[in-house]
Symmetry: D2
Subunit: 124 residues, 4 copies
Amino acid sequence: MKIRVYYEDTDIGGIVYHANYLKFCERARSELFFNIGSSPILESGHFVASSLEAKFIKSSTIGEMLEVKTTLLQAKSASFTLEQIIYRGSEKVFSMNIKLVFLDHENRVSRFSSEAKELLERLF
Amino acid sequence: MKIRVYYEDTDIGGIVYHANYLKFCERARSELFFNIGSSPILESGHFVASSLEAKFIKSSTIGEMLEVKTTLLQAKSASFTLEQIIYRGSEKVFSMNIKLVFLDHENRVSRFSSEAKELLERLF
Amino acid sequence: MKIRVYYEDTDIGGIVYHANYLKFCERARSELFFNIGSSPILESGHFVASSLEAKFIKSSTIGEMLEVKTTLLQAKSASFTLEQIIYRGSEKVFSMNIKLVFLDHENRVSRFSSEAKELLERLF
Amino acid sequence: MKIRVYYEDTDIGGIVYHANYLKFCERARSELFFNIGSSPILESGHFVASSLEAKFIKSSTIGEMLEVKTTLLQAKSASFTLEQIIYRGSEKVFSMNIKLVFLDHENRVSRFSSEAKELLERLF
């Protein structure tokens, strides 16, 4: 998952605004779903961030090509945890562990539906 | 409607990213609804931009306080047009004419529901 | 210039937030520069939006692939005007005419530097 | 520091997009500087996020008024750590510990300048 840094991603400091690395990681997560012809929005609900730990290692700026690598760290019955690292070439720019949970249509955290479970098994 | 310019609103050019003036104007439109205890999302649908003409007159930057002034230019049975001007003190920074239409729950453009019509009459 | 619609681009209405089409068009403009090994940020200054007219023709939503097509409409000594149309397949979703001017390092509008002029000739 | 949730903050899930809570917290940090007539961008450099741990506790949606509370947890010679909690009324929506470091004008992490040190003492 390659991501180009554009004007909108930078701020007056001349570098990528910190919260935008979370957006880049979200794009990479969604792209996993799109890649297998699916969507992150399921009939039975959708996934949302529950907690995360992030490290801002290097700054990046306009025009650079970044790459997001996503690894499954842990899967449970109602959550899963990913490691997502953003590289510029071989250099780490950002890393994050993010725990995701499943929200049903009333926006309540719930166990994965069978639809969600099957999808996660295909993804990781 | 006062709006402070933050890091997130600027880009590497050191000034507010052009598309963010549209966000500031949208905040001002929504605030009109909130101010009368209502919401821009109605039971019967919601309003969306149909077309706009914008002028970027001055640049603005982090820490500045801007003010959005909103005037009704025209109201029809299925659309209304607003003029929205963003000031920094007495100086015009941005101006826009925006035409809004009403989308029902199937995301189809439709005439204003009676709910929408009453609300617009209270607003303007 | 292909653009995928992600969560961040949508809003509670379930469709792309109107101002984000301007971001998509800006990405396409920047990509023109990157494609020829250059950057939209020159030694002598950079380009900024001066005015635009936009039409929101269809709504689009998460997961869709959009494409931005950019055409030069007019070039003058201190400004140029582009037409940018966003398609989903063969269907027009958004169109915009945008006039861009050149800002020097003191953020003053100025005639194109020779650097800017040469670059624009290579682009269009 | 009160923050209203607008269309732009939500996504197709109907709730605030996760990365936007980081933006809300950044607004609150910048507002600390503006409140004492200063700016987060100093002559000698500026502060950037180095790492953070975030918890997404409740979802929030359009029209809601949130409040960000910021507390200094630790100050060192080259970094400081804040706790930032976002409330909706008395209910916690989001919490984060964020470590900030000082970047000089070459975007290198450095010890706080005397300007930065004095400012931080006035803030906390």
